[in-house]
């Protein structure tokens, strides 16, 4: 059947070239190779965590035209739950690698689960009443963020909580040369890559994925084919929130602390990422997140004062090149 079929589109690799360009440019500016390699690996790890956080947001927008300005709430929740779980587990100081992995796994899993459940409530109470009304969506989801942040303060207190890494995950991986990659960052990178692979698999190889991609283009027709798009949306929203929770747990361990404001802080960053990537595109989100992660690390080393600017400059540059983002999603 497929032998005499015309193959699909050639893959648009230009955005990936952008990533390579950033890395290369940094390479020229950073004199020593080990430093550059360390920064690059760090940047990729950070980018992958950001991807996990932002992936849910972009998918939800692509599917239902809903932009959740309160997405950061799930990130914060994931972080705080992880902190509580790890705290509960008592002495994380003396755990071996295996036990550490288990501990982190439990913490992240709990963060994911709670975030997903809260996501369901969020969708039901805040998002559903304002489908299709963009202005109200922005306002109400921001309201949700305010409420969420306050509730976190209520439960965990207003201050920062330290979140030390379990012993088995501290320190760096042995790498050739003077290149440094923290064990935890490697783990985070692995988790990020797994999420990416899983998302791509679901979106491209399963019927559910076909359904989601079709819904992104033409909701009405999907209903005419007999599918309840509302249910699909609820599922995707919950999944997106869960992913944000997972990302939040990872992010907190990366920073080794949680604060009630972390949701709002990370919000700006993920918006930049999904604008760069193209609202609704998972691949775009991936590339955008990596770009932002790399840039943050390079700039942090080369010119710390200009770090946040570099992200915005990147966003503006990308929008001038492709006004809809790196991988625009058609159909709207």
């Amino acid at each position: 059947m497929s032998s005499d079929a015309i193959p699909r589109q050639p893959f648009d690799a230009r955005p990936l070239q952008l990533l390579a360009a950033i890395a290369l440019a940094a390479g020229l500016l950073v004199s020593s190779f080990p430093t550059w390699a360390t920064l690059t690996l760090s940047g990729l790890a950070m980018g992958l965590i950001i991807f996990v956080i932002a992936s849910g947001l972009t998918l939800v927008f692509g599917l239902m035209d809903v932009l959740n300005f309160g997405h950061g709430v799930f990130v914060a929740l994931g972080g705080f739950i992880a902190a509580t779980v790890l705290g509960v587990q008592g002495a994380v100081g003396d755990l071996s690698l295996g036990a550490s992995l288990l501990a982190v796994g439990l913490a992240a899993g709990a963060g994911m689960a709670v975030a997903g459940v809260v996501g369901l409530a969020f969708e039901r109470m805040l998002v559903r009443p304002v489908y299709g009304m963009h202005l109200k969506q922005i306002l109400i989801t921001m309201g949700g963020m305010i409420i969420g942040e306050e509730m976190i303060k209520m439960i965990w207190g207003p201050g920062m909580i330290a979140l030390p890494l379990p012993q088995g995950l501290r320190g760096a991986l042995p790498l050739p040369g003077d290149v440094v990659l923290d064990k935890f960052r490697a783990l985070a990178a692995l988790v990020g890559l797994t999420v990416f692979a899983a998302l791509l698999l679901v979106l491209n190889r399963t019927k559910l994925g076909v359904l989601i991609r079709a819904g992104v283009q033409d909701r009405e027709m999907v209903e005419c084919l007999g599918y309840r798009i509302r249910r699909l949306f609820i599922g995707v929203f919950a999944a997106g929130s869960a992913l944000a929770g997972l990302g939040g747990a990872m992010w907190s361990l990366y920073q080794q602390s949680v604060t009630p404001q972390m949701g709002a802080q990370v919000n700006t960053l993920i918006f930049i990422v999904i604008i760069i990537g193209g609202l609704g595109s998972t691949l775009g989100c991936f590339v955008g997140a990596l770009a932002v992660g790399l840039l943050a690390n390079y700039m942090g080393f080369l010119a710390p004062k200009a770090a946040l600017f570099s992200n915005i400059a990147l966003m503006v540059a990308v929008l001038l090149w492709r006004p809809q983002g790196l991988y625009p999603v058609g159909g709207k």
């Binding site: 059947m1 497929s2 005499d4 079929a5 015309i6 193959p7 699909r8 589109q9 399963t206 019927k207 076909v210 359904l211 991609r213 079709a214 992104v216 283009q217 033409d218 009405e220 027709m221 999907v222 209903e223 005419c224 084919l225 007999g226 599918y227 309840r228 798009i229 999603v329 058609g330 159909g331």
Partner: protein, 244 residues
Amino acid sequence: MSSLLSLQGVHTHIGAYHILHGVDLEVPAAQLTMLLGRNGAGKTTTLRTIMGLWRASAGRIVFDGREIQAEDTPTLAQAGIAYVPENMGIFGELSVRENLLLAARQARSIEQLDTARLDWLFVLFPALKKFWLYPAGRLSGGQKQMLAIARAMIEPRRLLLIDEPSKGLAPAMVLSLIEALRELKNDRTTVLLVEQNFGVARALGDHVAVMDDGRVVHAGAMTELAQDEALQQRLLGLSLGVHQ
């Protein structure tokens, strides 16, 4: 000859506009009913109202003995009604294969598609086989139309609602279209077809309803209309084609 679908006094409002002013329509089972009329007569609105995309503000719609005017679109689709809109509703970023997979509700994956049925479709619409993995948005207008019809045929359906399929199609394509619809008729599928092309109408229609100003102003056998030039003139404003 009983009606599979029956509209009784259906009114539809879109915002402030009153489009359907009491539509009465009978669609006999296992037959092809043509819905004719000028532009703006309300034909598309009627189809969309049946499909639940627009809610009827008054009246009843009965499908297979069940009142459906208050049901939502997915329920109607699951009850066996397939809708092929005027803009075809093709998912451009998905491949032809994925478009058909989505339409085949019983199939959980590509492998589960009914190969016998697919082969039948490939005979009718060779382009589908040729462009199987191609993004559907890259197909020509005619090929997209074929895909849209194929989607409605990938599984047996009770009722097909098709909106102006021959619009913009090259004559050769129109012949393929007629062929496909004839196969559907042979399969004893009930079809409600909106068409401007009287040639297609005459070739396929068993039953005809003519709309004007949001109402059905004439209903009867196709043969009757095809032979009565004066009636054609009165209803459609022009005399169409050669008589039977």
